[in-house]
Amino acid sequence: MLGEAILKGLAVTAKNFAGSFVSEERMTTVQYPEERIAPIENTRDFPVLIYDGADPMAGLRCVACQICEKECPPKCIYITKSADKKPDYVGKPQFYPTRFDIDISVCMSCQICVEVCPFEAIKMDTEFELSTTDRFGGLLFDREQLAKSNEYYHSIHPTEAAEVDARLAEEKAKTEAKAKAAAEAAAAKAATAAATPKEAPAKEPLP
């Protein structure tokens, strides 16, 4: 019969229409500002800088190595290296960024900066409500705006942050053990070489 399949199709539509009143999970629409879907852990949008401790600027993990600036596909990261050095989390003196700007109107959320960073300093945020009336300055985030605490990082990506912390702790322990061994070796050497006082003091090995 002509039109039979049309009626069958309409039955599918009717079933779907009625089903949305019966079953909660068929109601796929979320009324956004009032209702929100649960955040997914791996979600990423724009990069932030992670700091340890209480002071955001003193605790920044970033050492201004500028690898992310070079690797960024749309070139939206701008870094200025400091002239002086300050100790990083293992106590090694490092440069720090005097300027670290990300133009998030250019950023395409690709996460390559996160992947190439050897210092676990840059991570992806999940905050997406960033609308502003200022198109240019309002979307150019400086290092004060980008700095986020490690606790915040733990709250948005718990699994990933735990892995990062474990890796950093391991590295720190290794560096400390190495420094300790080097100090002991230097002390032993100094003791044996006490007869020759002119020898140069043992240098701190680079971690």
């Binding site: 002509l2 039109g3 039979e4 399949a5 049309i6 069958k8 199709g9 599918v12 539509t13 779907n16 796929t28 997914i40 852990e41 791996n42 979600t43 990423r44 690898i67 690797e71 960024c72 596909p73 395409m108 959320s109 690709c110 996460q111 390559i112 992947e115 190439v116 992806m124 699994t159």
Partner: protein
């Protein structure tokens, strides 16, 4: 008082050329697009009409040109990976895969077993959601406003949620790397894919009950926009478009790239090469993808997901060239790279299925009604991001 007329103005003014058809009627030139709602973006068709009949059709590309290839030649190999997401933004994971294959061939990286399985699973999920939404858009263009498209998007949404959980992004996944994949699967992800795949046949059955036998759809699609197999082969058409004409050519079967030789699946073939065949091919391919997904979920081994030899940055492939191709949902997607031994490719070329499948648009449209042009265009299944790059 006499008015002086500039000679140059007279010369530059030309009356519009009115073409006359064989029957002696005036032809009407219509510019469909670039802002026509049916053109999936910014694409123009200059159509010459004799009444309702299409006499000539000229596709005009380039409105969305973003200089992808030249940017890639100035950037490192890794930096081009997120740009490949933006080619065919419906299937970013298959774009990643094709580019990764090309670079792996060039640099000589191998891919661990587990990463290959992950790639197959993500690519087949991509194929399902692409075909589902392609059918939705085809029906949308037929005038079935919304409903089939919304049913398709409801299913696509579930797949995109899985992609977000795995890769962090719904559409711009940027997941594959040279020699593997970027991150390990989250806990419970494979089980979720299993649940989704178990529900997919029901969705396809529903779509078929809804559409396949529909008299209006058959009247609009059967015998419309016919593409002959010899023309399809000569024009380099690939993907569902080619298989709808009856040519058995699926790169998953021909090339066995990745680990596709391990899976049992059939290649659906059409008979007439019309719009209805293209619709049916997509339905049947979704069913085959489900069977591949079931096998892959069952067999996925444990192990590393990255080749330990591979580096994501700072590698310089040996001087040479490589062509990596895969069966993307829309057809053969290939990346051709020439290395001159530096950190960025000397030449980077994309072979986009959408663009090459569009080249036969005029041959399919000649002699059809102007209302069918929209339909034929929709059945090609293109994404303008890939056509113009």
């Amino acid at each position: 008082m006499s008015t002086t007329v500039d000679n140059a103005t007279i010369k530059s003014y030309r009356p519009p050329v009115i073409e006359i058809s064989e029957e002696g009627d005036e032809l009407l030139e219509v510019a469909m697009g670039p802002h026509h709602p049916s053109t999936h973006g910014v694409f123009r068709m200059d159509v010459a009409l004799d009444g309702e009949r299409v006499i000539r059709l000229k596709p005009v590309f380039g409105y969305l040109h973003r200089n992808h290839e030249k940017i890639a030649e100035k950037a490192s190999y890794l930096a081009s990976m997120p740009y490949t997401d933006r080619l065919d933004y419906f299937c970013s994971l298959t774009n990643n895969w094709a580019y990764a294959i090309a670079v792996e061939k060039l640099a000589g990286f191998t891919v661990p077993e587990r990463a290959e399985y992950i790639r197959v699973i993500t690519a087949e999920l991509t194929r399902v959601q692409n075909h589902a939404s392609a059918i939705g858009f085809l029906l949308q263009e037929m005038g079935a406003s919304g409903t089939p498209l919304m049913y398709a998007f409801r299913e696509r949404e579930k797949i995109l949620d899985l992609f977000e959980e795995l890769t962090g992004s719904r559409m711009m996944c940027n997941y594959m790397r040279f020699g593997g994949c970027r991150v390990e699967l989250p806990k419970g992800w494979i089980e979720k894919v299993g649940v989704l795949v178990a529900g997919l046949p029901q969705f396809i059955d529903e779509t078929e009950a809804f559409l396949t036998g529909n008299e209006i759809l058959m009247a609009r699609c059967q015998g419309v926009g016919i593409l002959k197999p010899d023309l399809a082969i000569n024009a380099g058409i690939t993907g569902p478009m080619l298989r709808a004409t009856g040519v058995n050519y699926d790169i998953r079967k021909v090339d066995h790239y990745g680990i596709y030789d391990r899976f049992k699946f059939r290649v659906p073939l059409g008979d007439h090469g019309d719009i209805y065949d293209r619709y049916m091919i997509r339905i049947l391919e979704m069913r085959e993808s489900i069977s591949i997904l079931q096998q892959a979920i069952k067999d996925i081994p444990a192990g590393p997901i990255m080749d330990p030899k591979s580096k994501i940055r700072g590698f310089r492939p040996k001087i040479g060239e490589a062509y990596g191709r895969i069966e993307a949902p829309k057809g053969e997607l290939g990346f051709y790279l020439i290395s001159d031994g530096t950190g960025n490719p000397y030449r980077y070329r994309v072979r986009p299925p959408s663009l090459i499948n569009l080249t036969v648009l005029e041959d399919m449209c000649l002699g059809q009604n102007v209302a069918d042009v929209v339909l034929i265009f929709g059945s090609v299944d293109i994404v303008l991001g890939e056509v113009d790059r």
